[in-house]
Structure formats: C-alpha cells, structure tokens
C-alpha cells in the first residue's frame, strides 16, 4: 500500500515537472555571444526569447561578469555558449552564481555549441603560454564559416526540440527554412569572393581561420605577435617586411582593437585596413547572421578591388 502511495506521489511529481516546461509558452534562451543568439533566433522563431550577454562590438574574451547578467541567467531555460574556453574569463562565475540548476555545466539546459562545428587550429603538440593566450581546445572563432553556422543552428534546433518537445517539429521546420536561405546566400557569397580566392591577408587577432578556409583567403600573419599580446615594434617591422615580400594588401581588424598599429602598417605597405565585423550586432544594421556575411564580404570585395 505504502509502495503504491509512493508510486502515486512519484507520478504526481513527475507530472508536475514534466508539464512545467510545456506550460512555459516560450523557452527563455540566453547566449554568451550575439552570433549564437542570432542562430538561436533563426531556428527558435517566435517560440523562444533570446538574449545575448556580450554585445557584438565587444571583445568576447573580455566580457565583465556583471551581476545584471545573473538576472538574465537565473531565468534561462537554456544557455548556449561558444565554448573552447572563449568565455573562460567570465562565464564560469556567472553560471555558478546564477542559482539556476537548469544551466549548470552538464545540465540539460547547457549547450556548448562548439561540439557541432568544425574546429581548426587544435594544437597537436604541448601547449604553453609562451604561445600567448592560446586556446588549447582549438580556435573558438568558428562561427565565421557559414557551414558551421548551419551545423550549430541544427544542433540548437535539436536542443530546443529536446527542451520543448511539443514544438520540436516547428524548430526543425525553422531549421530547414534557415538551411535553404543559407544555401542561397552562400552561393552569392561564394560567387562574390571567388575572384579573390587565394588572396593574402593579415588579421589583427587569429579570429578568421574558419572564414579564411571557407572563402579561400590566405592569412599570412597577425598584427598581434601572439594571441592576446598587444603589437610590439619588432613584430610590426617583421610583419611589414613579410607583407611587402608577399605583396599582401589587406589588414583585417576587429572593431574593438586600436587602429594605430594597423594604420601605420597600412601606410608603410600600401595596404588597406578593413574594419570587419566578427559578430552580429557589431554595427547597428548588422542584425542577423546573413547580414554579418553580407557586410564583411561587401567590405572585403571592395578592398580587394581597390588594392589590385
């Protein structure tokens, strides 16, 4: 009898817990960066609310762990992170302090999006900090390859369906639609970039390996001597020499870096500084994942035309 009572209680509890998410009309998703937010929005449609912690014009390595972010996190059903230690300096304490069991690492509402993407620059030998602020798990700037955008969107759609089974079909439909639009857009981007296949560029930080791989750019050097280490005079001179030898005419810089060194490099090599956007929201009108590539590719093709 007692067993049966316990069973009933368990069933009732199970019913309460299982119906709880179904009652919540919209899934509350918080993402670490705007790119993950944009992809979640694509597949989540109007069945989710999405908010990003970092802004698109902010260096994602150096976000401050502001308590106001805890207010967002404590309500979240799902936390989507870029992973690969990009957020290691600020996200772990926020997750711990959020008091939200759903989004703790390993819980069902924690999604490390890097598991879906093709990751480059995974160190094969021993890693030391003499290499600068290296990411021992690989380069975390993987969202700048549209193929990875598709993979991550698919992964997020799957996760959303898992958390909200009633809408799983809807999320899959949204993904199929996104997939189609992305394929069309990709054809245009690929065509726009095709004439510049193999062009040499220099970037400020090593944040473009996936972009370069997809669009066939050849990154020959970085303004930073090592990841996370600000430019030094000797390295800058070396880089100028390299760019002259290799006839490299493009310096790509994220909006949150100082333009002084890139500008002086450009002045001495006849190169153009391209202030590209690494993330959605870097400029006001770059509001989704498609516009991010539209913006960057327009900038790049213009610069390539001007320099050759």
């Amino acid at each position: 009898m007692r067993i049966r009572f316990g069973f009933v209680v368990l069933l009732a509890l199970g019913a309460i817990f299982s119906t709880a998410p179904a009652q919540a009309k919209k899934l509350n998703v918080v993402t670490s960066t705007t790119d993950m937010a944009a992809l979640t929005q694509e597949v989540g449609g109007d069945r989710v609310t999405v908010e990003s912690i970092a802004k698109g014009y902010q260096d994602p390595h150096f976000v401050e762990a502001k308590p106001s972010f805890l207010l967002k996190l404590r309500q979240a059903d799902l936390l989507v992170t870029v992973g690969l230690q990009l957020e290691i300096g600020w996200l772990p304490p926020l997750i711990t302090q959020s008091g939200n069991p759903r989004i703790q690492v390993g819980a069902n509402g924690y999604l490390d999006a890097s598991q879906f993407a093709e990751i480059l620059d995974i160190p094969t030998g021993p890693v030391t900090r003499a290499m600068g602020d290296v990411h021992p798990l690989g380069n975390p700037h993987y969202w700048l390859d549209p193929e990875n955008g598709r993979r991550v969107a698919k992964g997020i759609a799957g996760k959303l369906g898992e958390l909200d089974p009633a809408d799983a079909g809807y999320f899959q439909e949204k993904f199929q639609d996104f997939d189609k639009r992305l394929t069309t857009a990709e054809q245009k981007w690929d065509a726009d970039m095709k004439p510049y296949h193999g062009r040499k560029v220099v970037t400020y930080h090593n944040s473009l390996p996936n972009f370069a791989k997809h669009f066939g750019l050849n990154v020959i050097g970085y303004v930073e001597p090592r990841p996370g280490i600000p430019p030094t005079p000797s390295h800058t001179i070396e880089l100028i020499g390299l760019m002259k030898r290799e006839n490299c005419k493009i310096v790509m810089v994220e909006p949150y870096f100082d333009l002084k060194t890139p500008n002086s490099i450009a002045a001495q090599t006849g190169a153009q500084v391209v202030k590209y956007l690494p993330s959605v929201g870097g400029e006001k009108d770059v509001t989704d994942y498609f516009k991010l590539f539209d913006y960057d590719i327009a900038l790049l093709t213009k610069a390539f035309q001007a320099t050759q």
């Binding site: 401050e64 762990a65 502001k66 106001s68 300096g89 997750i95 008091g99 819980a107 949150y256």
Partner: protein, 437 residues
Amino acid sequence: MKNLITWAGVAMLFTIPLVAQPSNTPSPQNPPDSSAMEQRIKDLEERIIALEGQVRMLKATPAAAPAQPAAVSGPTAAQAQVAVPPPAPTPAEAPPVAPGALPVYGGASASAKALNPDISVIGDFIGKAGGNSVQPTPSLEMHESEVGFQAIIDPYARGDFFISFGESGVNLEEGYITFTALPAGIVAKVGKMRSAFGKVNMMHNHVLPWVDRPLVTNNLVGGEDGIDDAGVSISRIIPAPKGLFLEATGQVFRGDSGTDDSPVFHASRDSDVSAVAHLRSYADINESTNIDIGLSYARGHNELGTDFLTQLYGIDATLRWKPLRRSIYHSFVGRGEFIWSQRQQVPTEQRAFGFYTSADYQLGRRWFLGGRYDLSDRSRFANLTDKGGSLVLTYWPSEFSQIRGQYRHTSYADNISANELFMQVIFSLGAHGAHPF
C-alpha cells in the same frame, strides 16, 4: 569504453569509404554522377565533424565512474567493426582518452589527468624600500604562493580550493563546495571561505589593485586574511524592480578570524559563532557604467571572552566605467568602503570608524594608474587614528602577469610617519582563472 568509442569512430571513418566504394565504382554504362559523389563526400565530412565534436565533448565531461586501468590493448579492428552499427556512442563509465588534447608530461596516463581539477599557481613577490616601525615588512619577500584547485564536482556542485603558501607555513585560504543546483535559486557554500563583508575582504591578494590592504582592513577587519573562517554561506538573488540587482547573503562561521595583531573574532566556546550578512545592490547606468552598493554586518565574540561582542557595520560603493567598444584599453573603477566597529572590552566599549577611497584608471592596454586614501581608528583604541595615502602604477605584460609599483605615505596616530616604496610582481601559472569584477 571511451577508448573503444574513439576506436569505433576511427574504424567507422575508414570502413564507410570501404563499404561505399563498390557502389561508387563507375560502371561503363553508368558514368559517375559527380554531384552525387560530392554530396556523399560532404555527408561524410559532416559525420566526421559531428564525431569530432562528440569526442571533444566526451573528453571534456568528467565521467562519474572510477577510473579503470588503461585498456590492455586497443580493440581489434574486428571488434571495432562490430561496434559500428549503433552510430550514437553509448555514454558509459570509462576513463576518457585524450590523445593530443592534454599533454602527458610525467608518463601518467592522459586519461587519469583528464579528471584532474584545474590547477593554478599564483606567485606574489614584494620588494620594499623605506622603513616602517609600526607595520614592518621584509625588504624582499615571496609574499604568497597561492595554489588553486577548481573543478565541477558533479552536476550539483563545484569545488574550489585556494591554499596559500607563505615563505614558511601554509594556510588554507579558502576551501569550499558550492551547491549550484539547489531549489528556489539558492546558492550555498560550505567550507572555509573569505566572508562577504564588503569588497576587499572577499578579494585574494593578487586581484587587489594595490600591493597592500587598506588601513581600515588592518585596523578593524582582521588584517590581510580578514574575516576568513569555516562555516556555511547561503545567498540568493532577491526579486527587485527591473534593472536592479539585489542579492542577500547570510553566513555563519565558527567565530575565529584575524591575527594576533589584528584580532576580530575569537570563539572561546563552541557556541561563540560569528555571523555575517551582506546585501548587494547593483545597477547598470548604461552599458559602460555601473554602480554597485553593498551593506554589510558582522557579529562575533572577541578574544576577551564569550561576554565580549564585536560588531562591524560596513557600506561599500563602487562605480565602474568601461566602454565596451574599447574595453581592453580604457576603464575606471572608483571605490570606497566605510566601516564602523563596535567592540566590547574593559573598561569601556570602543567605537571606531575607518574608510578608504580609491580610484584606478586604465591608461592603455597594459597600464593602470591608481591612488588610495586611507583613514582608520584602531579597534582597541578608538581615539587613535591612522591616515595614509598611496599612488600605484601597474604594468601588465600579458593577462598572466603584472608588475606594480606603489608609493605609500602613512601618518600613524602616535606621531610616527612612514614613507615606503613597494615593488610587486604577480605571475600566474596554469588554468586560466576568471577575471575579477
């Protein structure tokens, strides 16, 4: 098991093309459909990427099961092929295999290391010129070597240990478990920890913007270690009007804090526990500027005995500015902490007050300039007031080291003044810690 999964994965990668080949061989009448072929390759690529991701995740998640001795020999190809059909690897108890990801230095198996906590060591070296007869410090000192072990314990908790090695002697600075999955948004900590009394009391030496701690910490709140005790802490975010963050923290400790020179609490009996309460409010003024105001209260028994109480009241305020578009180049932090101490002793209760105000401005990516003004009565002799001022310049070669110079002038109550010049080098090894906020 994970070994097996990896092998299975590798085997799968090799077997798929093998299986696929016969059907792909172009028969004379059927010319190869290159687009279908391309699609096949693409699908294959997708599967590899998905598989790589799964392997990365498996490596990263700690398995709950006890570590088993490394597999005697890798599974044979035949075994692996048997394992191919179920494409989704079954999550199972096994030591993760980490080829490539974790360098093996000592010959220990990589799988054993994958479960290790994040380990960090932070060195804090201080050199000094100038004399100070009231608070003497050595001329050259490896002030502290702080070893940190941090890991997620299970889906419900994480653990943090900070063990501080002086040149002689070891001190458990903090060691606690944090329960992160409690109901009702409660976060609980159990262990030894720096209490939530104000701002500076929570900070480890290496995250302070100065070489030393303010006079008010030394005179009223127990010196370098401050209120740092074994006990239980419970905190929760309190619902507040939109845009305002409120968090309440309540802590109960054994009741032993401070040093012989700077005692705060002392438990003469088991029931002489101390308690700390903290209310933190925070608001974003705009995306670059925010304000953080805290109220603190601490109560405990002092070294004179069970009948003698010490109570501390504190207000802290911090204004931060950091423009997001230039966040790595410029920032400003202005801070003040005001503390009142009420200490029962013979012949009369002593009511002391002290505060510091400080400002730190980031000049460039690597340079910080700061200043601090100090004033504090002494807890046992409230009529004696010490004053001081400091000027600080910090250089960060990278995120993992800093070099700091500080000039400090102090006018002690007994008409003794001291001028000192400090030089500090802080360097951190190992796991990337969180940036202080």
